[in-house]
Symmetry: C2
Subunit: 431 residues, 2 copies
């Protein structure tokens, strides 16, 4: 499959037109917008790219592509960028040989959007437009599943134009006709004239970027979108993520996800050491660590640099931090008899909550929480446990944590096993 990326715009509202520097090479979360397109579309199966540039920005793209020889990109020049992005599309006609993806270099999409959009047909439109300014966005009016009208001023409309199309070369005949008729031709006019079909894809993060403010806003939204599906607990959703997603945009491109993992780990160990001398301060730092623990994953997703090893390392180190903190409580509080037994159980349970879902993923090659959303119903995830530890340390009752965590964690393990047991036949039938 091929993809055509339009990058002949002048970026006037960005203030870039004076230098000729293209919007598509602006960085969001440490990566050029164009590079995000190339990475995500490649992952979605696109093997060849056609990049439509203008005479002034061509040299910047040439330099960029020299630094990224891993992508097969053919550059096509639009000598008249002032004739509109419809004219840019028409310039790509000879480089395209079959069905193709069409998108804009100044748009930003989250991973899931691109993965799903490539299997759509015609214009991909968003009925809800969760992340876009409804006043600014291009509106779409449909008739019988096809485009009836496109434009910012439509009063009756069915959704918003995401700037992402899956087209066939027949579109070029329509483009050619319109270009013969008038000087400036927009993509919207061509899409409406061709009455291309439309495919809904709603609720995912995408945006176009016209102003510097939108660029910064996009960065924040991208980080927030990266949190979805991370399987967060209650404390994470309502507290930790609010703080970490506010911090992560400043760290993207400055530190790598693995560096964030190591820093968070060291902070966690430090909190345990501190707890040895002062449980109150240790507990506070432990909760700070819990907040920062989200940063590595957020950066990794937003900068498209997630690795399986990074995720594995993060999990293993989390187990050591939790163990270190609880061990310090055991060593300082010196529980005896039943209380010691409960402390040991709490130590085991802290690892087992994670063990049992990881073991599930190893056996069934699927995520336990996505397979059985009911698992969310039982509390005891890491963010919730750490918050309890923090709370009881601050309140001055750290010894209560032993029975509390012992019951909570092993209850969660039992509940999880029960859910797996109940669902095992359904899973077997699904293969």
């Amino acid at each position: 499959m091929q993809a055509v990326i339009l990058a002949a715009g002048k970026g006037t509202r960005m203030g870039l037109h004076r230098t000729g520097y293209p919007k598509g090479l602006l960085r969001v979360a440490g990566r050029e917008l164009l590079l995000r397109h190339l990475i995500l579309l490649s992952q979605a199966g696109v093997e060849e790219f056609v990049l439509v540039v203008n005479p002034e920005n061509r040299k910047y793209f040439e330099e960029f592509l020299r630094a990224h020889p891993e992508f097969r990109v053919r550059m096509v020049e639009n000598p008249h960028p002032e004739r509109g992005n419809g004219y840019s599309l028409w310039c790509a006609r000879e480089a395209v040989s079959g069905p193709f993806v069409l998108t804009m270099s100044d748009h930003l999409y989250e991973e899931d959007f691109v993965r799903k959009a490539v299997s759509g047909q015609g214009l991909i439109f968003d009925r809800r437009g969760l992340y876009v300014d409804h006043g600014e966005a291009t509106r779409v009016k449909l008739r019988e599943g096809r485009i009836a009208a496109l434009g910012k001023g439509l009063t009756e409309y069915d959704g918003f134009d995401t700037g992402f199309f899956v087209l066939t070369p027949e579109i070029f005949a329509v483009a050619e006709r319109l270009i013969g008729e008038k000087e400036e031709v927009s993509l919207s006019e061509i899409a409406a004239a061709a009455r291309i079909p439309a495919t809904e894809l709603s609720g995912l993060f995408w945006t176009d970027i016209d102003t510097p403010e939108e660029l910064r806003r996009a960065e924040r939204l991208l980080i927030r979108a990266s949190v979805k599906g991370a399987g967060d607990g209650f404390i994470s959703r309502h507290l930790n993520r609010r703080l970490s997603t506010a911090l992560s945009p400043y760290l993207c491109g400055r530190i790598t996800p693995n560096q964030a993992t190591i820093l968070s780990f060291l902070l966690g160990i430090l909190s345990a050491v501190l707890a040895f001398f002062n449980p109150l301060l240790g507990g506070i730092l432990y909760q700070v660590h819990s907040v920062l623990d989200g940063v590595d994953g957020e950066i990794a997703r937003a900068t498209l640099s997630r690795t399986r090893f990074g995720g594995l390392l993060d999990s293993v180190l989390d187990r050591y931090v939790d163990f270190a903190f609880l061990s310090v409580l055991v060593l300082t509080l010196k529980p005896r008899g039943l209380m010691l037994a409960l402390a040991l159980l709490a130590l085991l349970g802290t690892v087992m909550v994670s063990y049992v879902t990881e073991r599930f993923k190893g056996a069934y090659a699927r995520d336990a929480y996505r397979t059985f959303p009911v698992l969310h119903a039982f509390p005891g995830k890491r963010d919730e446990r750490i918050f309890l530890v923090f709370l009881f340390c601050v309140l001055g009752y750290p010894e209560w944590l032993f029975p509390l965590l012992a019951v909570l964690t092993h209850g969660k393990v039992l509940f999880t096993l029960f859910v797996f047991y109940r669902g095992r036949k359904k899973l077997k039938a699904q293969g």
Copy 2:
């Protein structure tokens, strides 16, 4: 794909010919030989079976098939079983419409054999014959990759006839010619006359069963073959498996794998309770538990009743047993200060050794030990750890276990992470 299973033999050497009861319905490891064929061939992609029976044994097969409506089996009668198994093959000609698997109801194959054999061509032959009596087995002589001669008396030969073929319907023309020429026709004669190709598949367990002694022997060998690839440690290979594989044949069909898992778990917990009063006896029982812990997997594989949930349950319960035993040592020996810290580390490490490889499997959807065989080089697997616990309890130095296990387990975790880290790029390239 279709499969023809020849079951018209009289089982004379089994002593079955007096009753007409077929060899294919004898049970090995609690399952009929025929049922094993149906299960394994179905898993390998066979959708329809043709079963060639004789007038006497037909009723037994009819009864069996009524109890197993999940398989699509067409029965074909050979009215002249005395004319040989070549004649039985010929009887199936009208039920077969394309390439087909041909095998014998009185043969036994391990899972891997069937899975690989179905993608072979012609006769599947075994160059090494690890599990068969070289004097009794049918020998194969090849010329240019095709069968030149087949027979027990061959002095020059390239391997052994496994009784498993992947054929095309052209074979029936050759069968028809030979049947017209003589009264008794064997499959060997047809295969040799047709000069069918041959595919090597060596080193896996398969056998034919002619006598009651061979049936018992096959059961033992099947259990032993089931142990391969279980990722056993040193103690398991040289001690535990010798005992458990001797025991398992008696348990196949008597208890289910999950029952074996629960029994082994209860014994493990009992050993921990016992250790509270008497570390010596507790340690001995813990090692007995370690031996019995292999039985569930052996039964499950040998009886083809492995389930992913069963494996998951086994892993989780093992973690609880190990924790229980070490916790009891902590509660009775009452270590303080550094020794308590080491005891806690040993508790964590005991879980983490398993956690880190399970987490790998969850992330990469592949087995850590098979991906990186070098992981076997570092000791510290469960069988080895339990043996150390047993040894130190018997010798009377249980407190030495805390530093020993702390260093051993976390050393293994670190080593494992290092191996993953070193191999991460190669794995990424492989996808």
